[in-house]
């Protein structure tokens, strides 16, 4: 696709322009071509049914890849090899995806496949996620893949059917927003804290209708894992798209992975990818600046991700009925220090924070310590590969010695569809992305936090600041 104007373009403008198969008109949205379609068991069965009803085939099985993550148990199979599914329906859903993939010739990273895992963890891991691609999945956290300079967004099941049948979706171009993080993060502050600080700043609907590009010194300094965490949470600010311009760190991550281009194709791809970053002077519809150096470890105290504050803060006085409702549900008293709140359960996992670096952050704090008596602590790696890598470093031994449970990979307590859930009234510190009412089980109170904050909270049995632990490690190093 050639450019027909010479004004400076943003990464988003380029990604969009390069994938329009049919331009939008007043009467109809653009037909946007999809390079990679990721499929999982929860949002696909009804899409395959529509295909079957209309006698349609999957048009590009070679651009489609499926895995199992939401409904899969995180406890191992019994001696007969049977997995402990939460319900017969959960098992049937898994079997439906297996059957649909067989029928339509789609590659499935099935149970037992060493490459299986949470769809947004394995895409990057396998090198499927690449700069410049359009990537969709029937899951709102598809924005994660934008960390690689891809145009990645969550779609509904009807659209899953559209992509299966035509390899395209109908979309109008959203507005663009740039969120610039100036300065450097302090010790003990992570990408998760940046995400929560940003959502608190712009609101749970602040990104509504926008594609967000994250930029600035602190974003540039993030690891690929950190960029994925940041882009993952874009949807919690209402934006379907989050992205970071690809750079040498991005290319280094993708290189040599299973589905990455090889040989001459690799060099051609690199040349193409290097043209993607936003040009100086490119226009954005909105711009937000955040001082990264001022961000503290963050937690959420309400039932929407924008109710976030530094872990060292006190619970606010509710100003609106919605805030009152949230605080009542969460059982925080006005002016109560968050660090006084007792924790019943800790969950370290999810597509936001289940990568190797996240587990290392948590293990560094748990090493040589014990989880507070009575605090159920689940550590759930994001993929089979993360699990293997963590075990190779002995992280599983660290978690187990601390009294935490080391589970099989999956979405687990992020969405609590697989039987992993808290009990009514429990306060759960979770590295997942949503503190919605009932999300982690009926009546469960969810506090979102980084892996370091979650680990420190498990140790203390209260919401805890991870910085003293991080500083202690630094001093003893």
């Amino acid at each position: 696709m050639t450019r027909n104007n010479s004004s400076p373009q943003s990464l988003f403008d380029k990604l969009w322009e390069q994938h329009v198969a049919v331009p939008e008109t007043a009467d109809a949205p653009a037909v946007l071509y999809i390079d990679l379609h990721l499929v999982h068991e929860v949002t696909s069965p009804q899409a395959f049914s529509v295909l079957d009803e209309q006698g349609l085939k999957v048009r590009r099985p070679d651009r489609t890849i499926a895995t199992l993550d939401h409904s899969t148990p995180t406890l191992p199979a019994n001696e007969n090899g049977d997995l402990p599914y939460a319900t017969p329906d959960a098992k049937a859903q898994v079997e439906t995806l297996i059957a649909n993939c067989e029928k339509h010739g789609i590659q499935l990273l099935n149970l037992g496949d060493p490459r299986r895992g949470i769809v947004h963890v394995i895409g990057p891991e396998l090198g499927l996620t690449q700069p410049g691609k359009t990537i969709v999945c029937g899951d709102s956290h598809t924005s994660t893949h934008g960390a690689f300079g891809a145009l990645a967004f969550g779609i509904g099941t009807t659209e899953v059917g559209h992509v299966l049948a035509t390899q395209s979706v109908l979309q109008r171009k959203p507005k663009s927003m740039r969120v610039i993080f100036d300065g450097a993060l302090q010790e003990g502050v992570s990408a998760k804290d940046m995400a929560l600080a940003m959502i608190a700043e712009i609101g749970a609907d602040g990104g509504q209708g926008y594609a967000i590009e994250f930029a600035g010194e602190a974003v540039k300094a993030l690891s690929m894992e950190g960029r994925m965490t940041l882009c993952n949470m874009s949807i919690e600010a209402g934006a379907r798209f989050g992205m970071v311009a690809p750079d040498e760190l991005t290319f280094e991550w993708v290189k040599d992975r299973e589905f990455a281009p090889k040989g001459d194709s690799w060099h051609e791809a690199l040349m193409r990818w290097r043209t993607l970053p936003t040009e100086d002077g490119a226009a954005f519809d909105k711009q937000v600046r955040i001082n990264a150096g001022a961000i503290r470890p963050m937690i959420t105290y309400g039932v929407s991700p924008d109710a976030a504050a530094p872990v060292t803060a006190h619970a606010p006085k509710p100003r609106t009925s919605a805030e009152q409702h949230a605080v009542d549900y969460m059982q925080f008293e006005p002016d109560q220090p968050f660090t006084k709140a007792e924790v019943n359960r800790v969950f370290i996992g999810s597509c936001t924070n289940s990568r190797l670096s996240d587990l290392r952050d948590a293990a560094a704090i748990m090493r040589g310590r014990r989880v507070k008596e009575g605090v159920v602590t689940l550590v759930v790696p994001g993929s089979e590969a993360v699990k293997r890598a963590a075990e190779a470093e002995g992280l599983h031994d660290v978690f187990r010695a601390a009294g935490a449970e080391w589970r099989e990979p999956g979405c687990s307590m992020c969405i609590a569809m697989n039987g992993d859930a808290g009990a009514p009234g429990e306060l759960v510190v979770s590295t997942s992305n949503r503190n919605f009412i009932g999300r982690q089980g009926k009546g469960v109170r969810t506090v979102l936090a980084s892996p370091a904050t979650a680990a420190a909270s498990a140790i203390e049995g209260r919401i805890a600041d991870p910085r003293p632990y991080v500083n202690e490690m630094k001093e003893s190093a």
Binding site: D89, L170, A204, F436
Partner: protein, 193 residues
């Protein structure tokens, strides 16, 4: 699931004043293990409608509500945020709702709703406030003219993506449109290969 064409609708409103009603509230995740679209109406707002022991919750706004006369849901801002589950509009439609109105509707929910016969529209703050303050009011939505009428003297225009509007008015899914573009899609693939 096929849906009825949507043209004009006169009905009473059910009002949920809360902001940020997420799709986990509209249909909790434990109901997502289905492989069909049918029967989801029974699960809509389940934890708002029922006590833990399964008895109807006395305080629920859905109690005594008649889906034949109350087909319009009015909600606080950022309605439908969170998960992309299309089960949310399927469940609302299955329960009897034909329209959702807010000042601000989450992107994926809106897209999913409009593809399933559920009109999801955003109105100006003044109209929104009027609707929130008059629960149960009979209002009229005219999709052709893009007007919501709270009364003969109080009317407001709403914007809607024109293609989604056409599909909704004709009761058709958008897949046919995409299939008609297959030659262009193939040409695009050939140019990029």
């Amino acid at each position: 699931m096929s849906f009825e064409p949507f043209n004009a609708l006169t009905s009473r409103t059910v009002v949920l004043r809360q902001e940020n009603i997420d799709t986990d509230q509209i249909i909790p995740a434990r109901f997502l293990t289905t492989t069909s679209k049918e029967g989801l109406g029974e699960s809509v707002f389940f934890d708002w409608r029922y006590e833990d022991d399964g008895k109807p919750r006395n305080s629920s706004i859905f109690n005594g509500y008649n889906p034949d006369t109350h087909k319009i849901l009015v909600a606080g801002s950022n309605f439908g945020c969170g998960s992309s589950r299309e089960h949310a509009p399927w469940a609302l439609y299955g329960f009897g709702f034909r329209a959702v109105i807010s000042s601000d509707i989450a992107d994926i929910f809106k897209s999913n709703a409009l593809k399933n016969g559920l009109l999801a529209i955003e109105v100006d703050p003044k109209t929104h406030a009027s609707l929130l303050n008059n629960p149960g009011a009979e209002i009229e939505i005219d999709l052709e003219r893009q007007v919501v009428a709270l009364s003969v003297w109080e009317k407001a225009h709403f914007d809607i993506e024109p293609f989604a509007r056409q599909c909704l008015m004709n009761g058709v899914d958008q897949l046919g449109h995409l299939q008609n573009k297959l030659a262009e899609i193939e040409a695009y693939e050939a140019a990029c290969a």
